[in-house]
Symmetry: C2
Subunit: 252 residues, 2 copies
């Protein structure tokens, strides 16, 4: 049985304002929890009591205990009270949100995302960036919270390896990266030059992506130095945002 205080806390962490207040977020499922235990600061692990014997869950419990992290067991009744993305995944963890400043991400190529609304898109972009070795990410204030459980899940563990800076004023901060750190800004645009097979010297490059439905805001358009387009042959009106971003990243 969980205390009602813990249940309340877990449910609060479904909401962005409480995630900010407590500086914590939730990771669901043994895969995510296992990676969090390896790569992040885990505050607490919550396990469905009658699944504690399952090999992947037992392994997480073992890892947590070895690090002195509290493990709480919950019963069927608790599960009915805990909000999760889908059905209760057998195990979840409360994880500390790491601090990240603008300077922290200014060490190599940066993905900058403005006004991204779909959690799956944001998570997939973080995962794809990690695959291609890009771990510096800036997310605009008006995007979906990157510690939203659906985003966390779709990063498939990459969120623990990325430095993600939540922007306060994205245009000013892009300009700061340009002026203070020598970055240039590249974006995708239907009127850009064809995307080359290989983009080189990316150490001081920002790759900027705008909203799924409206693209970049005019305010951000103004900081772009280079525009590329992904040449298409068919009649589709556009590509999905995460797809466009991935095709670009695969050329770096």
């Amino acid at each position: 049985m969980l205390s009602s205080k813990i249940v309340k806390h877990l449910n609060q962490l479904q909401e962005k304002k409480y995630r900010r207040e407590f500086g914590e977020y939730i990771v669901e499922g043994f895969k995510g929890v296992g990676e969090a235990l390896d790569h992040a600061e885990v505050v607490m692990v919550v396990v469905e009591g009658n699944r504690r014997g399952e090999i992947e869950i037992a392994s997480c419990i073992h890892k947590a205990e070895a690090q002195g992290i509290p493990v709480e067991f919950c019963g069927r009744k608790d599960i009915g009270n805990i909000k999760t993305t889908d059905t209760f995944p057998g195990i979840l963890a409360v994880v500390d949100i790491p601090e990240c400043h603008l300077e922290d991400i200014a060490d190599g190529p940066i993905i900058v995302l403005e006004n991204i609304k779909d959690p799956g898109n944001l998570g997939t972009i973080i995962r794809t960036a990690d695959w291609f070795g890009i771990t510096n990410i800036m997310v605009s204030e008006n995007s979906v919270d990157h510690y939203n459980p659906k985003v966390v899940r779709s990063t498939m563990g990459s969120i623990f390896r990325s430095k993600i800076y939540r922007s306060h004023h994205i245009r000013t901060e892009c300009e700061e990266l340009k002026n203070k750190f020598g970055y240039s800004v590249t974006s995708l645009d239907i009127e850009g030059a064809p995307l080359p097979a290989k983009i080189t010297n990316t150490e001081r490059m920002i790759f900027l992506f705008g909203s799924e439905s409206h693209g970049l805001s005019p305010e951000l358009e103004a900081v772009v130095d280079v525009r590329y387009t992904i040449p298409g042959k068919g009649k589709a009106e556009s590509l999905n945002l995460a797809i466009s971003a991935a095709i670009l990243m695969s050329r770096l």
Copy 2:
């Protein structure tokens, strides 16, 4: 007011077995309905009565009437009874499933998909293929139905421009494409050669993608001629399926 017969029919089309029985599927929203009216055989359009004046919806009504397609108006009560993916989108259409045989897709590069479970992935792959001018698609019987409303929605209209063949026995049919039509089979595999910047002479190539969680079945592995891998630098375990497929398609 809709007749109870129409409401029942619309709700049945949420299920694969009835889509097959009637040879029809549902397209939701003015964007999809508009494209269906341009590119597909629309059987009926259903409009939320008090939204008939909205410009995009009025334009669909006009198009439908010009083609002699019945337009039904529904009230608030009907809407409560009609199942849709999210809230009722103001307009939907019932569309004929076109016939598609194996021979129909054997005229250029083919995307073959085995055991795809996520509707968003399947829809996004169809949309991306359309962007790159690939309209021949084969989907294994054990994949999510490509006329599932969530798939249809995430194709963003590309489903109307693609030839999609539902496979009965995917291995036999891949072999038939190889032996009878001279195709070769390329797949992505962690142990393949690095994906080249450009794949040429694709007219008789099959690009084969397996399930999100298990990759290709051993049965299908056996028909693969060429294996590529998407080189990664980070620690992510894998790429999302639709992302991998898109990166490959962007090289054709």
